[in-house]
């Protein structure tokens, strides 16, 4: 009977095409909105972000305004529960929310290599460690800015030689550019010799992050600059709080897309079924069960929806894969990346919406009064 469903869909090609395209566009937008949400979740709820702390200057937000002594690292390192401390100088071209934010992280190259989850896809560590202005560029930034190994990249007062391009298991890392700490500290506009933006504290197994954070702030209270230490996830969520609200609101856009697909496919299915009420009556006369005709209508609406959903999902995945998009604020970026979960959720939403869209007309067909339907023209 599937042949009947397929041929029926094919018979009304224009209507099918419009419905599939509409569903594709809506699921495409749904996919993008979901990817933003996923990016935020990864950044704020990932396990890795709960096993490290960020020490930042108290009451400061933008990286350019946090200036901590680099030697705070020596005072943090001996504290119980601390495995390693990574002083990081951050430089960004834009402290406000932006879709093309460029964030430099200056740190000790040995620590970058040891503690950052990255794999070089071009260039070499040797080139990075041997040259003062060398930089390792995240894959997404390289894609977005069309950068290759060996290029010179300048933005504001910062000019770096690209020694490598890396990919990372943490998508937001791929939106960063790493340089050596010394290079970034001595950049003209920063003038930060002996100072860093933040210290990243890696914890030992079993250490209580909140207890260690409190101890760090207590230890540094007597220093020249007061600090506020938080889990990295919480720090990133706090930094992106304005964007978090916006992304929360974008949920509604996602729901609206789902509603749009539902009404679109339901309208098409209702129209299609109304046109063919007699056909369904004939099918029942020759022996199709009411439940069988119900399944035929559901198959039709689901097929339209899943087809559109699949196209929209593929388009969204292509855009996310090759676009390298990210949104960032105050030096923290949310990466929009494709994921298996995203594909699965988009397809499952398409499937469920397809079934829901067909329920009404399917019920109508299955309870049809055969004699009356046969009389319709």
């Amino acid at each position: 009977m599937m042949k009947y469903v397929l041929k029926t869909i094919w018979r009304h090609r224009a209507r099918t095409l419009l419905t599939v395209c509409g569903a594709a566009v809506a699921i495409f937008v749904f996919g993008l909105v979901t990817s933003v949400q996923e990016g935020l979740d990864r950044l704020t709820h990932g396990d890795a972000f709960n096993r490290s702390l960020i020490v930042f200057q108290e009451n400061r937000f933008c990286p350019t305004s946090s200036r901590l002594p680099e030697d705070y690292a020596d005072r943090i390192r001996p504290l119980a529960g601390v495995r390693e401390v990574m002083p990081i100088q951050v430089w960004t071209n834009n402290c406000r929310a932006s879709l093309d934010i460029v964030v430099f992280n200056g740190a000790d190259p040995r620590q970058i290599r040891a503690y950052r989850p990255m794999t070089l896809v071009g260039g070499s560590w040797q080139a990075f460690e041997s040259r003062r202005d060398a930089a390792l560029v995240g894959r997404s930034v390289a894609q977005r800015r069309d950068l290759s190994v060996g290029d010179q990249f300048s933005i504001g007062d910062v000019s770096v030689h690209i020694a490598g391009i890396f990919r990372s298991s943490v998508p937001s890392e791929e939106n960063l550019i790493y340089t050596s700490l010394r290079f970034l500290q001595y950049t003209n506009s920063l003038d930060a010799a002996g100072l860093v933006t933040q210290h990243e504290v890696l914890l030992t197994e079993g250490a209580d992050p909140d207890r260690v954070a409190a101890e760090i702030d207590a230890e540094l209270r007597s220093g020249t600059v007061a600090t506020r230490t938080r889990r990295k996830g919480a720090f990133q969520a706090g930094t992106l709080s304005d964007l978090v609200d916006l992304i929360g609101f974008s949920h509604w856009l996602g729901y609206a897309c789902v509603g749009l697909v539902l009404s679109l496919v339901a309208t098409t299915t209702v129209m299609s079924v109304q046109d063919r009420m007699k056909e369904y009556a004939i099918l029942q006369v020759i022996g199709a069960r009411p439940l069988g005709t119900l399944r035929l209508v559901l198959a039709e609406s689901t097929l339209l929806c899943v087809l559109g959903g699949a196209l929209g999902t593929v388009a969204a995945m292509i855009l996310l894969t090759f676009g390298g998009y990210a949104i960032g604020a105050e030096g923290v970026t949310i990466a929009f990346r494709p994921s298996t979960r995203l594909v699965a959720s988009s397809l499952i939403v398409s499937l469920i919406v397809g079934l829901l869209a067909g329920l009404g007309p399917a019920f109508q067909v299955s309870t049809i009064k055969i004699v009356d339907a046969l009389r319709t023209e």
Binding site: T8, I286, R289
Partner: protein
């Protein structure tokens, strides 16, 4: 034992504000292999009786047994299963599914019977051959003439080897020549395949091909004498 048996069947429906009772305490027995035609003026309930026998409409009271099954007590799903097995339905205007080819239209009832592909193909080929349309199997209904479409409808009705075929004005929308070909075909199927047929028609010439003729008049079924068409006897 009769293949079709109606006992004290009543059927009424509302039309506008008026209640019409086309069938009043109707009794009927049709034996296996009989070809019965049912005549009567328009609106007398011929098609209603046909629909009751084929289980697509429900009686107000009475009992209908077809091929050993009491159809008046079955649920919609069971009725559908029973129709797929036991009833072939020939419509006045063929009522083919326009998106399917002649072959696929004929194949539909066999798909519902969950037969093997080999058996399905065998039956469809035989049915199309029986109606003389084996060479038109790949054609869509729009590519066939009215007579050919009706032949496909007939092939669809006989493909599952039903015990009973009901035909509702099968020649009603056809020209004289085509009508005669269809009459001949129905007669041949009745005789060669031993299918019990109940045909509704308002045309006395068409009714004449049946082995037994009935007249529905004011809700009552009357037997018509084959030798003297004007003469009737209460049935």
């Amino acid at each position: 034992m009769p293949v079709v048996e109606l006992q004290d069947v009543c059927k009424s429906f509302r039309k506008g504000g008026e209640i019409i009772q086309p069938l009043r305490h109707v009794d009927l027995r049709i034996e296996s292999g009989e070809f019965v035609s049912l005549m009567g003026p328009s609106g007398t309930g011929k098609s209603t009786l046909l629909n009751l026998v084929s289980g697509i409409d429900q009686v107000d009271s009475g009992r209908i047994v077809v091929d050993g099954t009491e159809v008046t007590t079955l649920s919609r799903s069971r009725l559908a299963d029973w129709r797929a097995r036991s009833i072939g339905y020939i419509f006045q205007t063929h009522q083919l599914i326009p998106v399917l080819t002649a072959y696929e239209n004929v194949e539909l009832p066999t798909l519902l019977l969950k037969q093997s592909a080999t058996e399905r193909h065998r039956r469809v080929d035989l049915a199309l051959e029986a109606v003389g349309l084996a060479d038109r199997a790949a054609h869509y209904p729009r590519q066939l003439s009215g007579g050919q479409e009706q032949r496909v409808g007939i092939a669809r009705a006989i493909v599952s080897h039903p015990r009973v075929v009901v035909a509702d004005e099968p020649t009603g929308s056809l020209d004289t020549d085509t009508s005669e070909q269809i009459q001949e075909l129905l007669q041949r199927l009745n005789q060669e395949l031993d299918i019990t047929m109940l045909m509704v028609t308002h045309d006395a010439d068409v009714a004449a091909i049946a082995s037994r003729r009935l007249l529905l008049d004011h809700g009552k079924l009357l037997e018509t004498d084959l030798n003297e068409p004007g003469k009737t006897a209460a049935g």
